[in-house]
Symmetry: C2
Subunit: 230 residues, 2 copies
DNA sequence: AACAGTTAGATTGTTGACAATAGACATGTG
DNA sequence: CACATGTCTATTGTCAACAATCTAACTGTT
């Protein structure tokens, strides 16, 4: 009666390997800024901090390199990625194209259940907006984009966005974003879902790209002030 | 102002770390099919084969996972990626969008020197075509796409395509492609370069996407016959 | 004081051994 | 014979020590 084997990427559960635990812990530290952007990473110190040896720690660092959250150079070591305006723009330009593509595919492939979940999410977001719950606004926003990407049914698109770009994106958003147009953003979301529901992938893609461009401007502005104050 | 520091992927030189050597060796074996698609990978056997311990070998496997050439599952191990028609289509769909984007950016940012190199490459390809040198036709094709991606000036686009997707793509192409329309392909390349030279990114993108679609059809056909014969 | 070369310390790369888990085989029971 | 249970082995996960390399301080010379 063997049931429920944990599959890949169960980073929240504790049954995972040490490398997975280290990955989750270090990644969280980086995204929150506890490990400052640009600072050096010491393998041994991290290993001791999490009560493990350097092996699993190194493995976690390899994965963090794939997620673009650190930069490794042979014999020298790893540094936390830096947040720059140039890279922010580069990142968002790519994200915009990819999520536009996700919208077109989602409009082709999404099913009724997923659509219902998306609309339920919109309702929750409205409630969070009314209640001033900024935490859920952020979480809900992430969730919204995730679901559309999932609905694209494209494995490589998912891997590229969720497995790759999104981690660095979260770092920018965590450190440089305050939601400043929640009503507008929510309206954007609603129109995107409508377009997908009507199987109008072209429109959904256009709306999504515009929506992301708004987010880029917002984040860019805040990053500029942050960097100026230093 | 530290300029020109190559980080990882020095795979051709021998001064690299053992992990890099293992990476290059294993990757070549996979792409050539010496390690068959779908077959299991044994860390210890690989380590012995290359005369090193399991540490660097594991590190190489981590990177190969990032490059989508293997699939790892905890406590079970790694398998070489499978080649399926569905994934081929998925892969090419993403590639098409990304290289279209690369063309638009390249049309904005390419400089005269890079343009001259591209046209020199076209000449070489013509010579290879005339001489029936199929090896250089393949190499030249890869080089053509690389240069355009480089000219896009987008770090994340380069990382996603060259650091990620292209490795798996090479596996498909190595195992499933014989060049069957070299004259047509070369004409495509020439028109794309012309469009980029004229700073017409939209046209270049369109031509590139069509060109890639041709390649997809070609590879799909050959993969289908290969799989049928087994 | 400025600079090159040298040396000591710290950090990463690598190794071989040990522990934990999965898969195969064998055994016993109905 | 089917099936559950329990070993047994092969493979992966983890560890602690060693080697190679980088960094920074120090020395001596001009």
């Amino acid at each position: 009666m063997n049931l429920s084997k944990h599959q890949t990427s169960h980073p929240t559960k504790s049954g995972a390997t040490l490398a997975d635990k280290a990955l989750l812990a270090i990644q969280t530290s980086i995204i929150k800024g506890e490990l400052a952007a640009g600072s050096k990473i010491n393998e041994q110190a991290l290993a001791e901090q999490y009560g493990m040896s350097r092996g699993p720690t190194r493995e976690a660092l390899l994965t963090l390199e794939r997620r673009r959250l650190i930069v490794r150079t042979p014999h020298i070591g790893a540094r936390v990625a830096e947040l720059t305006i140039e890279e922010l723009n580069d990142l968002y330009r790519l994200r915009s194209v990819l999520e536009g593509m996700a919208c077109e595919l989602a409009a082709q492939h999404i099913n009724q259940e997923e659509l219902a979940q998306l609309e339920a999410l919109l309702v929750k977001q409205e409630q969070a907006l009314a209640a001033g719950d900024t935490f859920f606004q952020k979480e809900g926003d992430v969730d919204f984009h995730y679901r559309i990407i999932q609905a694209s049914r494209s494995k490589h698109l998912q891997e590229t966005l969720i497995g790759g770009l999104y981690h660095l994106l979260r770092m920018y958003r965590y450190q440089c974003t305050n939601i400043n147009r929640p009503t507008k953003a929510l309206a954007d979301h609603r129109r995107i879902v409508e377009a997908i529901a009507q199987r109008d992938g072209e429109l959904a893609s256009l709306l999504m790209r515009r929506h992301i461009e708004q987010g880029r401007k917002n984040t860019e502005k805040r990053l500029a002030t942050l960097q100026q104050s230093q």
